[in-house]
Symmetry: C2
DNA sequence: CTGAAAGCGCTTACAG
DNA sequence: CTGAAAGCGCTTACAG
């Protein structure tokens, strides 16, 4: 079913059909109706491929998400979606699993002209490769940094946020604060660790312990906490770099027969709903995830509308939420 | 950058370039090299739109997910993805939010020939409309029923699973078992409710209470539980139709100063990781979510490979997991 | 083994 | 207001 058939059915030229389809110009009412009727009668659906090939734009953007299972990512996506929808764009989600091979495959949608731009959340260590793959098509990095190259990004000040969280733990009397971190190829992981260390140093606290969870998951958090509990001195507080990890840590603590927060205080990061779901509810850093997502799309749109739009690095606000876990 | 330019650069025809690109036939080694070199030199990327338009296939499928935030959905998607990847397909995720308007918009990817098939998880009440939108392109309904029309689907036997869960509650001595359900436009919600009622009846338990959560979320579950707690007689057990709702219910119970499971037992459904994350951990029905996803893709692939493939309704295995919450 | 040519289904100046 | 025609970037019989 093509525009040709419709044209034949309606007794007009394909140009006229196309004009009706794009409700453009001035088509004589009589003709418009004939076309509309033919369309309805044949249940015609325009071929988007052909249209996009011709116009060289798709009004679709690719969102390369590292892990949809991660509630923080899911929130970011919702923000991106909201903004995109409002601006008449459609979003294609691809789950990269932080795997460069899969990213590469997904990015063919970009180089293949199926989407007009891309929002990524990949580790900043993969940026060189991504940069090469993406070339100079519109691109925004979301909730992870890009400190070189011509890439716009949105995030929060992770060092400050971490410091404030650690400060809170210190001020509530904790002496041995451990960190459960994740893959340091993420810049945000590095920065949160920096914040943690800076704050300890400035408070003259010598005790320090860092474990690296193998994934950003509950079970990895649990395992990381078990490791911490096996060490000679036991921490009296744990700062986990995400709420999911913190939930895992709490579970490990409970299984070891210890209490939260009496024996060990636990704090998370992100401010997802999960932090309220566990008990005791988690102290955490609330990130404005929806807004980060929205902003990421806005930056992308600027680039799509104008290839020479300036590259921006946006820092959003965050805040500490104190709950019963600390 | 087009195939034409490469042809010119390499001093061959576009046909030859195309052949190299599709590593087909037998291109003289000398020419292949010239082409490969030209491609590398110019960093050429094939235009997928043009290719898909020409070949009328994309090796991409659309997954219309009702809510990526839902951990059960996320698991399904991972299963679909695994299978798709293995078969050389790419997946496009669209978040319908159970909104028919958004589904409609996403389905243009189908009618517009951008994808070869679609997997949905929409409420069965929307099927008539979806059927009309989708026409006769390959389509599989995942984790929700389709009892009419020519739609393949994969799921579990919800009635049996519910009955077994309720049986477990009864057998552990519970007398007043409440149900926290969700939107009855989902067939699975209807069936689980049926199972609940059937089992109560067969056990001659008269007491019954059903609340409907406004969403499949923690806070909606909490609210639903609060409603239940306000009624004259208090239940001594609650069966929530999803783990997320169950988590909300537990939170409400705790806030009311009651204990789980001593005062009220709580059971969930789905068997997501969340069920292990809360404390006490949840008794739940484990659905083989990954396998459901994989199966959904396989069914879709059958339809894509052969338009006359038979329509199937697949029922997967499930099992009851008893934990400390009951 | 290779190239000229048709065609996938659209849109858009251009001429009338 | 409308139509004929070119062209987006590919692939694929067809002929050689």
């Amino acid at each position: 079913m093509s525009i040709q058939k419709i044209a034949r059915l309606a007794g007009v030229s394909v140009a006229t059909v196309s004009r009706v389809l794009n409700n453009s110009d001035t088509v004589k009412e009589k003709n418009r109706e004939k076309v509309l009727q033919a369309i309805k009668a044949s249940n015609y659906q325009p071929n988007l491929l052909a249209r996009q090939l011709r116009t060289a734009r798709s009004s679709m953007v690719l969102v390369l998400v590292s892990d949809i299972t991660n509630p923080f990512c899911a929130e970011l996506v919702k923000g991106i979606e909201e903004q995109a929808e409002q601006q008449g764009y459609r979003i294609l989600l691809c789950n990269s699993g932080s795997d460069i091979r899969r990213s590469r495959s997904s990015l063919q949608l970009l180089s293949g002209k199926i989407v007009d731009g891309v929002i990524t959340m990949d580790a900043f260590t993969t940026l060189p490769e991504l940069t090469q793959l993406i070339g100079d098509t519109p691109w925004v990095q979301c909730a992870e940094y890009a400190d070189a190259g011509d890439i716009s990004c949105v995030g929060i000040n992770d060092v400050d946020a971490s410091r404030q969280l650690v400060r809170h733990l210190v001020e509530s009397g904790r002496q041995r604060i451990a960190l459960i971190n994740h893959d340091l190829s993420y810049k945000y992981a590095q920065l949160r660790q920096q914040g943690y260390q800076q704050e300890l140093r400035s408070r003259q606290l010598e005790w320090q312990a860092i474990t690296y969870a193998s994934a950003l998951s509950f079970s990895a958090g649990k395992q990381a906490m078990e490791t911490l509990l096996q060490q000679e001195t036991r921490p009296d507080a744990v700062f986990a770099i995400s709420d999911t990890l913190a939930a895992g840590a709490m579970s490990a603590i409970r299984q070891a027969g210890l209490r939260v927060p009496q024996d060990i205080a636990v704090a998370g990061f992100d401010g997802t709903e999960l932090a309220e779901m566990v008990s005791p509810p988690l102290t955490t850093i609330a990130q404005p995830s929806r807004d980060i997502g929205r902003k990421a799309f806005s930056l992308l749109q600027q680039k799509m509308d104008n290839p020479h739009a300036p590259t921006e690095r946006v820092m959003m606000d965050w805040r500490l939420i104190v709950r019963a876990s600390t």
